[in-house]
């Protein structure tokens, strides 16, 4: 199982699509590692500088409908290659969300209110998040405060995270 903790990258926008996460022109690559330098390269977000802002981040916090558009699993791979194993959003596109868990990574849904509060209270500062999958708790911490937030994932998603993915599970059971 991966470690789900580290510095937070805030992306204050909804509907960030997989073309923005990893542009189609890199889909000719067969190695996951080739995705690394191109994560969020085409993101439309004022003041966002892909290379500098991604550096040493491990968790993304964002708004609605993250990962919409193309089904490409290259999007979670690009995150994985950059050490970002957790995305926390108010909602996800179905395929992206499934791809994350299938890769043994976390896509956590919180209510819109919760997300807005996190942006309001923490969005401007250096923030760390640590996720405990076992107890379904997010610890969010800045210089001034620490907050504990509970979340829900299904038992199936938890099983995928723990066993390291769907391929091994399915080959054994079906």
């Amino acid at each position: 199982m991966k470690e789900f903790k580290g510095n937070v990258l805030f992306l204050d926008r909804s509907d960030i699509n997989t073309d923005e996460i990893i542009p189609a022109k890199y889909l000719t690559e067969i190695e996951k590692a080739a995705m690394k330098p191109h994560l969020l390269e085409d993101l439309q977000l004022d003041g966002f500088h892909p290379k500098a802002d991604i550096k040493e981040k491990a968790v993304i916090v964002t708004q609605d409908n993250f990962g919409c558009g193309s089904s490409r699993e290259h999007a979670p791979w690009a995150l994985e290659e950059n050490g970002i194993y957790v995305v926390i959003a108010s909602s996800f596109a179905r395929i992206f969300r499934q791809n994350m868990f299938n890769c043994g990574m976390l896509a956590i849904e919180l209510s819109k209110d919760r997300i807005n509060t996190i942006f309001k209270e923490f969005g401007k500062s250096n923030v760390q998040i640590a996720v405990d999958v076992e107890t379904s708790v997010i610890m969010i911490q800045s210089k001034d405060q620490t907050k504990k937030i509970e979340f829900q994932i299904s038992e199936f998603d938890r099983a995928l995270i723990k066993t390291g993915g769907w391929v091994e599970y399915a080959d054994k059971h079906y």
Binding site: D19, A24, K25, C68, S154, E155, F156
Partner: protein, 428 residues
């Protein structure tokens, strides 16, 4: 309590239930193309699991970048080609026989009512037009589909969208689906199946239904389903005639997948299209939609007619009708990509390709091409296109480019005018 078509298909394919809310479904089809499958193949090989569950249920095509444009795309084709050969996948379509996945697979009769289908491609929802549950998936799900013929889905909720009224002249299925996306927004149907109903859908042919179902994912939907009827049977008849005693017999069999009258829907919307105008997108989201008549003076550099949304014969016929006798604007590069070889040769026989060429269009081979900005018509920074495709995301057709999604009629009229413009087929 009645059931929806999606619920009936799930029930008929249930292999297992996990933790109460996850259904493991047996798959009737796993479709593959050269962009998302090679990574799945490589991973299976590295796990020592280079197997396929059933070579007859797997169909594969090279369609996104064909002919290969560089050594990387050549390698993707090679991996798929060799894999198909090694596992005896007979329905593999390579250059000379290949076309866009969501056009060629239905055309070959691979999709039937009640089927479960996955593919590593988000527009797999297109095949819902046949009354199938068809969904796009990522590489890992595709891998498991290839290996074991199963896939997991949460039990779907259904969004019933009734499209009613009388469709004005010159307004098409593309305009209708843009209207639907505008109304329910880009995540209005996330984790849901859209069921397209109403007299307008009943009156549509399969090409039009596929245009409708194709863009269901642009509203977040898992699949976009139309109920099977005689139109579906007619389309499929040449492929199924040995299995059924008559068309009515086939229809009776398929009808067990039609939603019950007392089925329960999570959401419901009725859209009357009697006053609908031709629509276009603006900006980088498919739900940024307005009437073409309100988009004055949008100067175009390129017009692209093709893709799994609108690259079928009827689409080309409509565009050619608008182009007939006209030359496209000097500053517009017109590109048309018929979606399959069959469509290409029919368009040739009907003189449609000549009309395109006489008007100044470049006719390419069947391919996804410009649709995803990987080949055959990439936009340069700051350029603007009108396209019959399905995604206007930033950078979709090339970094810094802007794409306006339109119907084939609007695309053709816009090519002539040099700006986004209503076609002469449209009269209020």
């Amino acid at each position: 309590m009645g059931k929806t078509i999606a619920e009936k298909i799930f029930e008929a394919h249930l292999a297992d239930e996990l933790f109460g809310d996850v259904s493991v479904l047996k798959l009737d089809r796993v479709f593959c193309h050269e962009i998302t499958t090679p990574t799945a193949i490589r991973d299976l090989v590295s796990r020592g699991k280079d197997r396929v569950f059933d070579p007859d249920k797997i169909k594969a095509v090279i369609d996104h970048v064909t002919p290969a444009k560089d050594s990387k795309t050549a390698m993707q084709g090679k991996i798929l080609r060799e894999w198909a050969k090694r596992h005896g996948i007979k329905d593999f379509f390579d250059i000379g026989h290949n076309g866009i996945c969501h056009a060629i697979f239905p055309e070959k009769g691979f999709v039937q009512p009640g089927f479960t289908i996955i593919m590593g491609d988000s527009h797999t929802c297109t095949h819902g037009a046949f009354g199938a549950f068809a969904a796009g998936v990522g590489t890992t799900d595709l891998e498991v589909g290839i290996l074991k013929g199963v896939c997991t889905f949460k039990t779907p909720q259904t969004y019933k969208i009734e499209i009613i009224g009388t469709l004005p002249k010159g307004v098409f299925a593309k305009d209708i689906i843009l209207k639907v996306i505008k109304e329910i927004t880009v995540n209005g149907a996330t984790n849901m199946v859209i069921e397209f109903r109403g007299n307008i859908v009943d009156e549509m042919n399969m090409d039009q239904r596929m245009t409708l179902s194709n863009m269901a994912v642009e509203a977040g939907a898992t699949s976009g389903i139309c109920l099977p009827d005689m139109t579906t049977v007619e389309y499929l008849w040449e492929f199924i005639k040995d299995e059924y005693s008559s068309r009515q017999d086939a229809l009776d069999t398929f009808s067990r997948f039609r939603s019950d009258d007392d089925a329960v829907y999570a959401k419901h919307k009725t859209i009357d299209v009697s006053d609908l105008e031709p629509l276009t997108t603006f900006g980088y989201k498919p739900d940024n939609v307005k009437p073409v008549s309100q988009m004055k003076g949008i100067r175009l550099d390129q017009v692209y007619i093709g893709s799994c949304t609108n690259g079928r014969l009827e689409d080309l016929r409509i565009a050619a009708k608008v182009l007939e006798g006209h030359i496209i604007n000097d500053h517009v590069r017109g590109i048309v990509s018929p979606a399959t070889p069959k469509i290409f040769s029919q368009a040739m026989e009907e003189g449609i390709l000549k009309t395109f060429m006489d008007s100044g269009f470049c006719v390419t081979n069947p391919t996804c091409g410009a649709c995803l900005g990987m080949s055959s018509g990439v936009l340069s920074d700051g350029e603007v296109a009108a396209a019959t495709t399905n995604r206007n995301f930033n950078g979709r057709m090339g970094k810094g480019g802007m794409v306006h999604l339109v119907s084939p009629a609007t695309a053709a009229a816009s090519a002539i005018k040099g700006e986004i413009f209503n076609s002469s087929l449209y009269c209020k």
